[in-house]
Symmetry: C4
Subunit: 206 residues, 4 copies
């Protein structure tokens, strides 16, 4: 059955938005001096070391976004057709990715309201991704009918974890932004174990 939608183009547009957002994360970081002229006439090694913490925040966002790209990739790998609702959910997801450079830069000095805004950005992205998994898998709407119910349950259970973690981090950040950030970092090991344990379902050929 031929889909009315070219999943390849949806992937190609998505890869473009991911690539631009991930590169702009760094390019837009305002705290990193852009030019040697921002320094004293002769910058010291101390000046360079002082630059490094500025890269910490963007590095974190870069790799969290990478984790979402991997989730996006795993979803689309499983799809055998697309539809209009999926494409619109995908645009919602891309919107969440495209605003990341801004929320990341606002995160800056880890002021509490900015931590909440940043967490809200990722609640949005991960909730939309969960919604896409649920939409595609429930009733095997966009995937092979032969995929087992056990597989669907396992995938949905795991896709629900990131939005819950990011959501829980919001009230927690009111008490401690440090604990909130540690919770975000849990998304990585969970994502890894998720990817390891999933039975490889029927895949589209590359």
């Amino acid at each position: 059955m031929i889909s009315d939608w070219s999943l390849q183009r949806v992937e190609s547009l998505s890869d473009g938005v991911f690539a631009v957002a991930m590169t702009l994360l760094l390019a837009l970081e305002p705290a990193v001096p852009r030019s040697i002229t921002d320094f004293a006439a002769h910058p010291t090694f101390g000046d360079v070391l002082q630059l490094l913490p500025h890269f910490r925040g963007v590095a974190a966002s870069f790799f969290v976004t990478s984790a979402f790209w991997i989730g996006h990739h795993r979803l689309f790998r499983l799809l055998v057709r697309g539809d209009l609702a999926l494409v619109w959910m995908n645009f919602l997801l891309l919107f969440g990715i495209a605003i990341e450079p801004i929320t990341t830069n606002l995160l800056g000095g880890l002021e509490r309201p900015m931590v909440v805004l940043y967490a809200a950005n990722f609640v949005f992205v991960s909730a939309v991704l969960f919604g896409m998994w649920a939409y595609a898998l429930i009733g095997r709407r966009l995937v092979e009918p032969s995929i087992s119910t056990r597989y669907v349950r396992a995938v949905l259970f795991r896709a629900a974890i990131p939005p819950i973690l990011f959501l829980v981090s919001i009230p927690i950040s009111l008490y401690s932004t440090t604990i909130a950030i540690l919770i975000w970092l849990l998304v990585f090991p969970i994502g890894f174990s998720m990817a390891q344990r999933e039975p490889s379902a029927i895949s589209r050929q590359s």
Copy 2:
């Protein structure tokens, strides 16, 4: 019959321009403070709430552009060959998409002349897209000859609606910019119903 034109590359370039423009919409928004340093030493939740309306305009442009990408996708999905005229019309369309980040940011406070400029941007984009549909379908120039006249009429009728709506919004904006903006939002439900009702014609395989 092998086309002299690789439609896949035209799509790939187009997806690139769409992806960059959609991400720059947000990155270029000058009203959103880029750094924590733009705030008082300790920003409050009130400061964060004041940021949200700045995202309203770019969000609207992001999703209107998404709607145009869907239209572009539906058109190319139907094409079985390309030609030089189609490629140049496509560059005109991409030019209209590439200037959107600028007209969107100028839109800002909804001053009347900026509303007109913004509407003019989208009259241009949607009129070029209509022209591409007409060029490809009339005489079945770039599509399967088996596509029915009924289908062609339905598609062209619907593709004519967005340029008309955006055009009509210009004189109306002289009286009320609010009504003009409400007219723009009509493009979405019409686009949806358009996508639902169209018989799926012969499609290229993904």
Copy 3:
């Protein structure tokens, strides 16, 4: 015969650079006010009309770049394999495309030295593209051996015209920048007639 090089990836990278450069042409244009705040409290329609000439230069560069993309596309459409030298020439070409946003913005008020710099940018791009055509076609190095000598001569003759036109425009610009710019615009009709007359040689399948 399988090439060691994936032409599809070379095309994909090239499309990315073209797409980003074409979109940045507009985003980097410093003369276009980015925000309503650059205007008086209530901008007039006169203010909007004054914006339009700023788009003239970037529009010209956008469509000249489009013409080069078409040339790039036509070349790669004909290739049946790649090699390291071709890939490096392609990077030279992409460098010329990537610096266009800067030379375009410098072009601004059509000051003579900036006209020369802009012309030099396009001498470079079009000369590299000519070099790629010559490298690929002579001795049928990267194309089907069945391509006729008559076709090769016709293509190389036409690919030589843009670098010659841009080169000739440099000394002419010392007398009149207007005539120099008119010479640049000749690239378009010549490109069109070029595309129309060329016999369609053996093409790779989409």
Copy 4:
């Protein structure tokens, strides 16, 4: 055997990051005046000649990045499947590429601490690329089992040269930044000879 991973999408995302980073190298260069307004009312040819050295640094980074793209391309050309570890190493590589526009611009006046930072950036990128080669080839983890041990040794030996050269340049730069930069330039001829001598192993079809 079908891989769980679409190598094509990993390549597509990577090409996007490379393309954006290479174009932003130039767009972010702060020392290049963006507009004619940065000059005196009538810029002279001397003003234009003074611009050219600003392009030297970004041109060097552009072509060093090109060399890394070629290395990335050669690696992926050989892969017959991907896995999660490879994808994460690829994100590390892309992070190194994405921060290049910043380290390149900081390089500016060749102050010693900035030369070290720049070299460290490329130690990182080339060491990750070496790690990807080793991971993919050792035990023929992600490549055809028929690839000879002699080929694997030759490739790994050559992939180890760039990180060693960049690493060695760091202590040397403490004595002479000029010699350090000359060492970087050695990456090019070595990369060329590398590409020439390698036996063409079994390749994926384009």
